[in-house]
């Protein structure tokens, strides 16, 4: 028989000594019915909305429907051992999860219990999963960038700290890949990440954990997983749990990034719970409050002022703003963005990154549609040099797509159109980027500068990717100082421009590609 590390006599002794044996008056009720994980409990006259209800066998339920003579609740976890007539007790607490830096590097379920086999979570603080978002006074506008490391996103649809940028697209268009690359690129930036997996295969989650570990990104990341095998209730609360864990960092003057992968499945889980609770179905059988389901969640992603942080930490952290950036993911069916949940989330968020399967299949990865992707607040937060160099890329690409469609029919084109087409083809190629290889600001700046200044015009289209890789390698070995300077300041001025020009001329002259 194996002994757990927590079974050392000293530990047991201290836990017995510290055991809270106080007796409280609690309200009790009886389980009247139990079907599909939905409990109807008679009694519990003073239950609160969202309160945890204790059931036999260390199981908890969450009260969702408070009616005159009964309470409707969903069981969190398995319910095979419960039966009609069991007693249910109020706990007087809203559902809470552990929070703190001790969660970083861990994989937890929707209730914050570790599921990675690395022992108990080193955290003694908890916070309710449902919290009201910071108010108007407590907020600060978004003016610092989150570098995703993907040049197509950082140049065309920049994301700021505290922004909510939706990643939307059909299945198999690389939505998760974009989010994971963004997490990997936060290594050494001090931005803490939370990845919430809802309704995904456990194997997919395991894969993501392994990839993050390989790239050294797990140390700053918390993974909250409610896999497809878990109950609908767990899938429904997982994003809120993850958000509470992310808010810990925001409220203490740090920056955090949270990925909800994906909210479509959370809406499905909520629809299931709502229908089983016999709430009236509305459009697409979603309940009436499915908009609020997502709006209250995404509203918690925000940038808060230094005054808020100072007040929250009672003066311990001064002069630092906090932020929680959200990258919610929505899966569309056959590119239909006008379905109920996609339109809701598009209207809630501050912009969207639209991924298309046609582009993906054509080998343009990340498969970002430049015309439909927008960032409503990120421009103010974009790094200076990327903003100056990448400003025209989005427009040029969108125009190129349109022009390319027309050009198929035209036999002879004028010079200007031809050069626009050839530039467009090369920029499209340049926007391709391999997975798990985020770029630094300087690398992006050189790529964009190279495209703007026509250094690639004589490079065959199918060689653009190789040309760029050779350029980055060349500049890295010959102009490391300039790159470091760009990375550090993010500024673009005449001096830097001259330096870049000289470096690229040198690269072209040597012709090492």
């Amino acid at each position: 028989m194996q002994l757990n590390p927590s079974e050392i006599s000293e530990l047991i002794k201290s836990r017995i000594e510290n055991f809270d044996s106080s007796v409280e008056a609690r309200t009790e009720g009886t389980v009247v019915s139990l079907n599909d994980g939905i409990l109807r409990i008679h009694g519990l006259a003073d239950a609160m909305q969202g309160e945890m209800i204790e059931l036999p066998g260390d199981t908890y339920a969450m009260a969702l429907n408070l009616e005159r003579d009964s309470v409707g609740a969903v069981v969190l976890g398995s319910y095979g051992h419960l039966s009609e007539g069991d007693t249910a007790k109020c706990t007087g607490r809203i559902l809470e999860v552990p929070i703190g830096a001790g969660l970083l590097g861990r994989v937890v379920d929707a209730l914050g219990n570790p599921i990675d086999g690395k022992g108990p979570i080193d955290s003694n603080e908890t916070a309710p999963i449902e919290k009201i978002a910071p108010g108007v006074i407590e907020r600060k506008s978004v003016d610092q960038p989150v570098q995703t490391g993907l040049k197509s996103i950082d140049a065309m649809v920049p994301v700021g700290r505290g922004q909510r940028e939706l990643i939307i697209g059909d299945r198999q268009t690389g939505k998760t890949a974009v989010a994971i690359d963004a997490i990997i690129n936060q290594t050494n930036t001090g931005v803490k990440c939370v990845y919430v997996a809802v309704g995904q295969k456990a194997s997919t989650v395991a894969n993501i954990v392994r990839k993050l570990e390989e790239h050294g990104a797990m140390e700053h990341t918390i993974i909250v997983a409610a896999t497809a095998a878990e109950s609908a209730a767990m899938q429904y609360i997982a994003p809120y749990s993850g958000c509470t864990m992310g808010e810990y960092f925001r409220d203490r003057g740090q920056d955090a990034l949270i990925v909800f992968d994906d909210l479509t499945k959370q809406a499905w889980a909520y629809r299931q719970v709502s229908l089983l609770l016999r709430r009236p179905p509305g459009r697409e059988a979603y309940p009436g409050d499915v908009f609020y389901l997502h709006s209250r969640l995404l509203e918690r992603a925000s940038r808060v002022s230094a005054a808020y942080v100072e007040e929250f930490t009672k003066g311990e952290v001064k002069g630092q703003t906090g932020s929680l950036t959200a990258l919610p993911i929505i899966e569309t069916q056959d590119g239909d963005v006008s379905a109920f949940v996609p339109t809701n989330v598009i209207s809630i968020t501050d912009g969207q990154i639209f991924l298309e399967s046609d582009l993906f299949n054509a080998g343009i990865r990340p498969a970002i549609n430049a015309g439909l992707s927008v960032s409503r607040v990120g421009g103010a937060a974009q790094t200076n040099i990327i903003k100056k160099l990448g400003g025209g890329v989005r427009l040029a690409l969108a125009q190129f797509r349109e022009l390319a469609a027309f050009a198929q029919f035209a036999s002879d084109l004028d010079e200007a159109t031809r050069s626009q087409l050839s530039r467009g083809e090369r920029v499209t190629e340049l926007m391709k980027q391999a997975q798990y290889s985020p770029m630094s600001i300087a690398e992006m700046a050189f790529s964009l500068f190279m495209a703007n200044e026509g250094y690639m015009d004589d490079v065959p289209v199918n060689k653009v990717v190789d040309f760029e890789a050779a350029m980055v390698a060349h500049i890295k070995s010959n102009n490391a100082g300039l790159m470091a300077k760009i990375d550090e300041t993010g500024e673009f001025n005449d001096e830097i421009e001259a330096g870049m020009r000289a470096a690229l001329d040198d690269f072209k002259a040597k012709g090492v590609f």
Partner: protein, 178 residues
């Protein structure tokens, strides 16, 4: 039982108000207790569930059993509830009637379960503490359950105060098992 709570409430309130107006609280209480005893009988439940019997037949049947002990209004209640197909809610009506009555009189019954017989001082102290806590006149009924090992469990309405050794050991086991 719980299914009828909502159904029974308006009947119980109507009966209670009628009883107050005619100051026949005790009489109604007895009548309801009698009716609920009858409708809780298994043979009676089977008859009440019989779909081949009409509501009038069911009312007649009820009145045949208990009619001679009921006054005119009470007989009317039986007829009315039979007509609405709610005779089976009678035990719940009786229970809620008693709750209305206890509420109005500021009384509550508390059940005290202990592992050992309580001394009269202990009972006295539980009564006074409960009275302060619940703000009502408390009547306690004691019973003994040796499986508690020690301590007491107090049940008053929905509120449970569980100070038994058994439940504390159980929660300690849960804490250590985590």
């Amino acid at each position: 039982m719980a299914d009828y709570t909502t159904v029974a409430r308006p009947y119980a309130r109507a009966v209670y108000q009628q009883a107050i107006e005619t100051s026949t609280l005790d009489n109604w209480g007895e009548a309801l207790a009698l009716m609920s005893a009858v409708t809780s009988d298994e043979a009676m439940i089977a008859l009440l569930d019989n779909p081949q019997m009409g509501s009038e037949q069911k009312a007649e049947l009820m009145l045949k059993v208990v009619g001679d002990k009921l006054n005119a209004q009470q007989q009317n209640l039986v007829k009315l509830m039979a007509e609405n197909g709610r005779l089976k809610a009678l035990p719940e009506v009786a229970e809620q009637f008693e709750i209305f009555r206890a509420d109005a009189e500021g009384k509550i019954d508390a059940e005290v379960v202990s592992a050992f017989p309580l001394s009269s001082e202990q009972e006295e102290s539980i009564t006074t503490t409960l009275k302060a806590k619940l703000g009502r006149e408390v009547t306690i009924n004691t019973s003994i359950d040796e499986s508690l090992i020690g301590g007491v469990i107090i049940k008053a309405g929905d509120t449970i105060i569980d100070g038994s050794m058994k439940s504390q050991l159980e929660s300690l086991a849960l804490t250590l098992g985590r």
